[in-house]
């Protein structure tokens, strides 16, 4: 696990308020309805708790509401868009038309998703004028665009080139060309059907360019064009429609002409609009199911096996959701990132705002919870060290405490360290359920539940004015444990674990001892 075991999570307040507002929601969990207070108890083991527990570093703090703000209780607003790979800012007007992806040369490997680079395929003995054919190469897994049969002529404008290149090197007609082609073929079809009707046999033979089943994009474009044409055909049927009043439109023009012309006597009954029809041909987006594609896929599976198929993650990353084989992969243009400001959800004050320059990582405003909330940390206390000689203490300090081998029934002492980031002293009152919830009931006792933590004053102020014994001693201990790192008791505190007494105190921190008696497995 990335977080070493004794970690501290902070529960954001928004969880409590939600539960209080809607107590029925979490009650449907199957827990018998307990007393009101018990029900409100935060259970860190419930799956819902994963969404309200945060490490302190991830939290913001709203100074007006005086509350911590988790990612759930902030509103984010985008400041600018940039490509994480080339760090170029993308103007907001083109972000959407580019499909939220970088249109420069930033591509990711479709197999392992690490960045791919453009390299040349030039033969060093026979250099070409342009630097030879280029290809995309993944520097991690060595995937190249040659595997899907794609080579580039230039090393710039990869996106534009890729848009014209299909897998296997065939050229894809551009969007406009496809539209024109569709129009042409639709016209042709119309003529043909008329020719059939009128009985003339000399219908021009269409050039049946069969390029396999149409792609997902093509079908969508066909459907969209079909629906548009159908809706457009219906539009003038209702000139009084209040929604498309527009004096440049023919419908309003005809309405005005109607108003002033004398043809009012010929009152036409408004026709009932004919229902829009269904798509009837592949050019209109109708794709009939054909068993041959299914058998083709099965045959391919049979021959190519596991290694040619895509994993779920690779499939989800692709732009078209229907890909199945490695030969269908397309290089992935890198998704743009944004710089976002964050506001408090309830008072709308800005909590964090980065500098708008892309390459800068600094923030204009940054209200972090770690500057406002005492930091708690927990670690095991080596009781043996204080008793034995300093040589063994050093050895024990090197040997880390094994948190995985707590034995049930044996009490262990933990040191709870609380440091105060505020400029005022803080009074802390701790509470814990005597038995932890869950399968293993562990008894936890806080030996000193109430204490003060000093203010986060300037270190030098403290040192210079430090005349009293306690303050000086505390400072000394502070520096000692800061160097030593491990949580050893120093001589100053006497080394004995005593109830009602704090273990150690520094300028702005205090540590107290917890006694933990690991419980037995409830089943055993």
């Amino acid at each position: 696990m990335a977080q070493p075991f004794p970690y501290t999570y902070y529960s954001c307040d928004c969880y409590d308020s939600k539960v209080a507002a809607a107590p029925t929601k979490h009650a449907s969990q199957g827990i018998p309805p307990a007393e009101d207070e018990d029900e409100r108890d935060f259970d860190p083991r419930s799956p819902g708790a994963n969404y309200s527990l945060y490490p302190l570093e991830h939290l913001l703090y709203c100074e007006d509401c005086q509350q911590i703000r988790c990612p759930r209780c902030v509103v984010e607003e985008t400041l600018n868009w940039y490509c994480p790979s080339c760090l170029f800012e993308v103007p907001s007007s083109v972000v959407k038309t580019d499909g939220n992806r970088c249109t420069r040369n930033c591509y990711n490997c479709p197999v392992c998703s690490s960045p791919a680079v453009v390299t040349t395929l030039e033969d060093p003995f026979d250099p070409s004028s342009s630097g030879g054919p280029w290809l995309l190469l993944c520097t991690y897994c060595k995937w190249t665009s040659l595997e899907i049969g794609i080579e580039f002529e230039k090393h710039t404008g990869i996106t534009a080139q890729l848009a014209r290149l299909g897998n296997g090197g065939r050229t894809i007609p551009s969007h406009k060309e496809r539209e024109k082609e569709r129009e042409r073929r639709l016209e042709l079809d119309k003529h043909k059907s008329r020719d059939i009707l009128s009985g003339s046999e000399d219908s021009p033979t269409t050039d049946k360019r069969d390029d396999g089943p149409p792609s997902h994009d093509d079908i969508y474009a066909n459907l969209s064009a079909f629906y548009k044409s159908q809706l457009a055909a219906q539009q003038p049927s209702n000139p009084f429609s209040p929604h498309d009043i527009n004096f440049s439109s023919p419908s309003s023009f005809s309405r005005i002409m109607n108003l002033y012309s004398s043809s009012t006597s010929k009152k036409q009954k408004r026709e009932k609009p004919t229902p829009m029809r269904e798509a009837a041909s592949p050019l209109e987006g109708l794709t009939l199911h054909s068993p041959s594609t299914d058998t083709a896929i099965i045959d391919r599976l049979k021959t190519s096996g596991w290694s040619r198929t895509l994993s779920p993650a690779q499939k989800l990353a692709q732009m078209t959701p229907t890909v199945r084989f490695t030969s269908d992969l397309r290089p992935l243009a890198s998704i743009l990132c944004t710089k976002r400001g964050k506001r408090c959800r309830s008072c709308r004050h800005i909590l964090s705002k980065p500098e708008s320059k892309i390459t800068s990582t600094r923030y204009k405003i940054k209200l972090l919870a770690r500057n406002h909330i005492p930091r708690l940390s927990l670690r095991a206390l080596h009781t043996s060290t204080s008793a034995s000689a300093s040589a063994t203490a050093a050895a024990a300090a090197i040997l880390p405490f094994n948190y995985d081998s707590l034995r049930p029934g044996l009490p262990i002492h933990f040191l709870l360290h609380i440091s105060n980031p505020l400029f005022d002293p803080v009074r802390v009152t701790l509470a814990t359920p005597s038995l932890t919830p869950g399968r293993v009931h562990t008894r936890v006792t806080i030996l000193c539940p109430q204490f003060d933590v000093g203010a986060n004053t300037d270190v030098w102020d403290d040192a210079l004015s430090g005349s009293t014994d306690t303050a000086a001693g505390g400072l000394k201990r502070f520096s000692a444990s800061g160097e030593g790192g491990a949580g050893r008791g120093t001589e100053g505190s006497g080394g004995a674990v005593e109830a009602g007494k704090i273990w150690e105190r520094g300028r702005n921190w205090t540590s107290v001892v917890l006694e933990v008696v690991p419980g037995k497995d409830g089943k055993a």
């Binding site: 929604h243 498309d244 994993s311 989800l316 506001r343 008072c347």
Partner: protein, 570 residues
Amino acid sequence: MSSSAGGERKVSASLGRSVRGQTPRIQDLASTPESPRTPLRSTSQWFSSPGGSFRTEEEYVVLEVGSRFVRGGFPGQSAPLCILPFGPDEQRRLGDYRQWDPEYKMKRRKRKRGQEWGQEHELYRTDLSKLDLGLLEDKLERVMREAYNKYFLLDPKPRRILLALPPRMPHPLMSTILGVLFGSMQAPSITLLSSPILSTVAAGLRSALVVDIGWAETTVTGVYEYREVHEARSIRAGKMLSEEMAKLLNEELNEDVEPGDPKIEVSFEEAEEVLTRVGWCKSRPKSNRNTLYFPARTSPILEEFEDAVEVPEPTVAIPFPKNTPPTELIIAFASLAKPAEAALFAPQTALNEFDDHELPLHHLIYRALLSLPMDVRRICMSRIVITGGVSNLPGLKTRIIAELEAMVQQRGWDPVRSYGSAGARREAILRQQRENAELRREEGEDKVSESLDPDNPPAPPSAGFQSPEEDPIDLKLAHIALRNGPPPNAYVGGVIRGVETLGAWAGASLVAQLRIKGIVEIEREKFLQHGLLGASKDKEISVVPQRQSMGPGVGRGAGERASWTLGVWA
């Protein structure tokens, strides 16, 4: 810092705050009649300046919330920008990076006690008694936040949401989903569209029989003129399929395990991956006649016989890196089709042993068709649209259609399965009918071969509906209709035919692109005030300026509405 904060506040003021001095809260945004603001202009449609409609150009975000994935994107795109799953890795605490630990990745996760197969990967289930709605809210909220921040990358303008939901969604579920979208995503309004209708739209049809093979259940919806007319369900769907696949893999993996060693149990992810990568379905119905008449025991023998045709049996090597020790399973390719067989078609079981909720798919579809009125059935049976995640299994669509065809051929459209003692008489009638039909067909064929060139196939809708006599005036009318009206194959009916669809999300994207408004449109303020209870009780609201040309499910054009309805979801 305070000065810069002041500067920022100005920005926020322009962003929609009405009063500078007082800090508005979210609740204010929802409903304060007192707070001064520009009154909503009720655009009098007759006198407003032209082109006003351009300014109120609405931008949509198109979402489809399924039980395991959320798809999201913008209108006019053929595929969603992101398809986000709900795995356990997506549900970790913030700052818990263990899924990136290479060691952790190689470990096989065990199913938690008391958890059903794949439960960790679900967003919701329709059985609300076991569903934690608070958790659902948390999950959806996090995923939507990811979608908005990582994939949509929108500017702060509020976007309307077009939401594709299955019809018959439980109200608590719907209200939670809408609550997240209105609350966290700040959507000004949400339009609900039912996913079978969207699948129909994405197939280019007006009527269809939409078979949605999803995760928890398969839904068969008869859609006629963009309106749901019938619905049937079965639990034979993705969940059962992946559980069967896990069973098969466990069996194969445990073959080599010593009796004393612990049994290998593949995890959900592994079974899912095998299923999506190399799972398939036999596209020919095997021994179909037999399964119908001799329900149980005869079919397996036949199948084994047929399986043995291919001599060097093709195999697939499936790596299991999460196993200890990592292993590679070599499995016969044919056996990878067994889970689909067992989970979706269950040919080994007699029909009378199924409960109503677990009918095999072909029986389910057949029954759904049977319960449709005859005219609707004629249209729907030749527009069978199979969609949903499982439908990507190679061979499955072909198989379903073939099974259905065989069933229809055998049983016709007769709801009575057994006539008992009257069986003999019925047989006679059937035979008579069949002979008559054959006779008629022969006659028809004769005529056709005389009158028309065989190269030039005739245009009439279908041979069965062709009238033997040709009236010249009828012919002329037909010509005119054909010239001006739609081509004849838009009216195909009476034959079993499968039509491919781009899926509900693409349908929603089409609908949003064409600016077609849905019947169910929920305004943010009204929802936050009353929740789902604010909906008026009538199922269909007459939206006055609306023409019925697109049908009631997807109406076009509508102004401000006083009340809103939940339509099919009511």
